[in-house]
Each structure stands twice: as structure tokens, then as C-alpha cells.
């Protein structure tokens, strides 16, 4: 029997992040099956998970889940290190950067919907910035800008409402189950 020389201690935080990342990757895969008229216009369902993580466990955990989602989604969809993967990375980074600022907004006035919309705009902004600089350095990106912005607004708002309802919990929303996000004591 050879014993592993390296033992990586796994904390409860690690397990939780892995579990939440798996959830986000699952949503990414499910979403990839949804046909879209314009490439890149997606509901961004995984952002629901990212946002829940941000609001419950903080920005660091959200950044971990987001990074694992991009990596895991890339692996499973077969787009690892392809242009789409880098666009996804740029979007996730920009979204996290925006969220790092936006989460300091007073929560009395700015709820999950604000964060979701702002993150969606960050996502699309990061993606289009990379696409415009790297893939399509022409006016083509500018022509599509309003389409992506409108999609970000709509899907961001919808995702935000979903996050708000999930956070409100089953008590106030009756038939909804928020069991996918376990309480912070595992």
C-alpha cells in the first residue's frame, strides 16, 4: 500500500463551495441546451447561485464558485480554452469586480435585483470588451451592444427577483423551496 504523501485538508467551507459550484455548473449545462437567437444571449441562470453565495457567504466564496463554474462548465461543454471560454472568463471577472463594489450599496435600498442587474451588465460588458478587442475588432460589436444590454437588463432583473424570492425563503413564498442553498451551518 502506498500512502499518499500529500494530504490536503478539506474544510467545511471547501465542501460548501464545491457543492454550490456543482449547482452552478449544472445550471450552466442546462442553459447550454436552450437555443438562443443571438449567440451569447443567455439567461445566466448560474448567476442566481453566484448571487446567493455572495449574499450568504461573502464575495470570496462567490469568486470561488464563479471561477469553478467557468472552469467546470468549460470542461463539460468541451469549450475549455476556446474563445467562448475566455469570453465567459472575462464576463465572470467583470461581473465579480462590479459586485465587489455594488455589494457595499446600502441594502436597505438596493436588494438582490440591483445586484443582479449590475452583475449582468458587468458580465456582458466584460464579454463584449474582450470580444471587441480580440475577436471582432470592428463596428460589429457596437451594432449588437443594445441587444446584449437589453438581454442583460431583462435576465438580470428576472434572476434578481428569483434570488430575492429564494432568500425570502419558503415561509413567505409558500410553494417555493429554497432547499438548494443549505443554511450556513453544514
Amino acid at each position: 500500500m502506498t500512502r499518499s504523501a500529500i494530504e490536503l485538508p478539506v474544510s467545511a467551507d471547501d465542501r460548501r463551495i464545491a457543492r454550490l459550484a456543482a449547482l452552478a455548473i449544472g445550471l450552466t449545462l442546462a442553459e447550454a441546451a436552450i437555443p438562443s437567437p443571438v449567440p451569447g444571449v443567455k439567461p445566466g441562470l448560474a448567476n442566481i447561485v453566484i448571487l446567493l453565495v455572495l449574499l450568504q457567504y461573502g464575495w470570496r466564496a462567490a469568486a470561488w464558485v464563479s471561477a469553478l463554474r467557468v472552469l467546470g462548465g468549460g470542461l463539460l461543454l468541451g469549450s475549455l480554452f476556446a474563445p467562448g471560454f475566455w469570453l465567459s472568463t472575462a464576463g465572470a471577472l467583470a461581473s465579480l469586480a462590479v459586485l465587489a463594489l455594488a455589494r457595499h450599496l446600502p441594502s436597505r435600498y438596493f436588494g438582490p435585483v440591483s445586484l443582479s442587474v449590475v452583475a449582468a451588465f458587468g458580465h456582458i460588458g466584460g464579454q463584449l470588451a474582450l470580444a471587441g478587442w480580440w475577436l471582432l475588432p470592428s463596428a460589429a460589436v457596437i451594432t449588437l451592444l443594445p441587444v446584449f444590454a437589453a438581454a442583460a437588463l431583462i435576465f438580470g432583473a428576472v434572476n434578481g427577483v428569483i434570488v430575492a424570492r429564494l432568500l425570502a425563503g419558503p415561509a413567505s413564498s409558500g410553494r417555493q423551496s429554497a432547499s438548494c442553498i443549505p443554511p450556513s451551518t453544514p
Binding site: 450599496l105 446600502p106 436597505r108 435600498y109 438596493f110 436588494g111 435585483v113 440591483s114 442587474v117 449590475v118 451588465f121 457596437i142 451594432t143 449588437l144 451592444l145 443594445p146 444590454a149 437589453a150 442583460a152 437588463l153 438580470g156 432583473a157 434578481g160 427577483v161 430575492a164 424570492r165 425570502a168
Partner: protein
Amino acid sequence: MLLRAGDVGVLLAGGGLVVGLSVFAWGGQHGDTAVIRAAGQVVKTTSLTHAQSFSVDGPLGTTHIEIEPGRARVAADPSARQLCVKQGWLTQSGQAALCLPNQVSLEIRGRTSAYDTLGY
């Protein structure tokens, strides 16, 4: 509470951003003048107010240009690939159809020109 006061503000700001981007990206200015050039020289400058047609001679033959209210196109051209003909109707200020083999170009201009100069 699903929506808080600031959320409404963020949504409105987002809507404003979308509208602003739409105007910025799609609100190109409609042209009102057509400039026709042959071998680099302006042969005709005309307004896009009524239907007209012009025939311009180049090294390969005659290029036919058609003008209608608000738009103009190269209707026929002797060039091999017909790129300027396939561009179809031009409406926006700054658009141009170039028939390079025949050295004829058709350019649309508005009240304010989108470019100071274009070199081909």
C-alpha cells in the same frame, strides 16, 4: 419585499442605458445628398429628394446609378464581382458603394458628415 427603492432606480438606469446604447448604435443619420465620383473626381452631387438616374462612364463601361427619395444605389455596373450593386440601397450618411474596377463611387452624405474624408 422583492423590489426596494434603489432597485427601481437601478432598473430605470438600466433601461436608460439600453435606450442610450440603441440610439448610439443604431441611430445613424439619414443622408440627404448623393455624391457620385468617377476616377476620383466628383461628377455629380445631387439631393435625395426625388427619383433620378445617372449614367457614369468608366474604363470598363457605363455604371448606372439610381436615386429615389431618401436612398440611392448602383443599379448596374460592368465590374466582374458586382460588389457595389449587391450593396443595394444606401440610406445612411457616410455609406458608400464603390465600383472599383470601373472607378465609380456613390456616397451618401447628411447634414453633418460622419467622416472628414475617406481615402480609397
